[in-house]
Homo-oligomer: 199 residues x 2
Amino acid sequence: MSQKSAGPEILKMIELIAKLPGFGPRSARRAALHLLKRKDQLLLPLADALADAGQKIERCNTCGNFDTLQPCAVCQSTSRDESVICVVEDVPDLWALERASAFRGRYHVLGGVLSPLDGVEPEDLTIGMLVDRVKEGGIREVIFALSATLDGQITVDYVKDQLEGFDITITRLAQGVPHGGELDHLDEGTLAAAMRSRR
Amino acid sequence: MSQKSAGPEILKMIELIAKLPGFGPRSARRAALHLLKRKDQLLLPLADALADAGQKIERCNTCGNFDTLQPCAVCQSTSRDESVICVVEDVPDLWALERASAFRGRYHVLGGVLSPLDGVEPEDLTIGMLVDRVKEGGIREVIFALSATLDGQITVDYVKDQLEGFDITITRLAQGVPHGGELDHLDEGTLAAAMRSRR
């Protein structure tokens, strides 16, 4: 776009929006226009919300969650079971488990899964921090809630090795038919796992 | 998401991002996380860029373009032909023509096309402003660069009626085979139009 038709402010905005996941130059222009047309209802409130989030939110030094508190609200909560740690790949997984009210313990955000192909090594994840938390004591169970993929399995195996020798129970999420899942739409791996773990 | 796992700042940010075109709750959460992980490189610069754009950019009172200048840079430019107005549906179309360096006159942003089905009436568009611009004189040609759709055609016909009686030439973009277009991927309407307008 030439400088003649759109000022540097618009170009800057489009350039930054285009860096969001799922955006390209065209959809970023569309989003920018959407924002400009809704200046008071959306553009300025979003600018404020982003600035606010950027100033106040940081990673929890204990578990890797994002929050305004340090340590985060989950780690500070006295109503949660601090002897159980649920290991997740990333913060949205933590959010998903919280939305499901599926867990009332503490979390540990790994920051990804090991992936030899993508060059993700143990040092890239927060495995050392997890081992330190277990070393400090008071933990009786570590639950792995990682993706049911090959990389997820490799990660579980690696971290389990690191946690060997501690007196803790290591578990992982059950695999099976998802709620509302129709059998003939499920892949064979899921069906086989569900059959093996039948109860 | 429960208040326990993500503070109001994150929820607010996700809620506003979800209002952008193409976003739902899940992709908004993903974008929010992407931003939080890149606070200094992306989140804070985007907050600044949005605030900057929101404060400085407004609609041009003459043509409807978005710019920091009033009237906009295109309307102010002395190196452009002020006797030709290209009528576009919305600002991205103006940007697209500028990127193509396809036009060196002035623009008029209609703000949409007439659509009886969607309830878009003439009063919802800037047709009156266009007629006023022509009425003021000095215009020799109005080019319609609207979508080649039924609504686009209805709009061209309606605006042409409003401009009747003025001593101006009314033209529209040529229809035909797009640059690089393979014939067997084109619809029949395009092929028929390209054949009729062959030269």
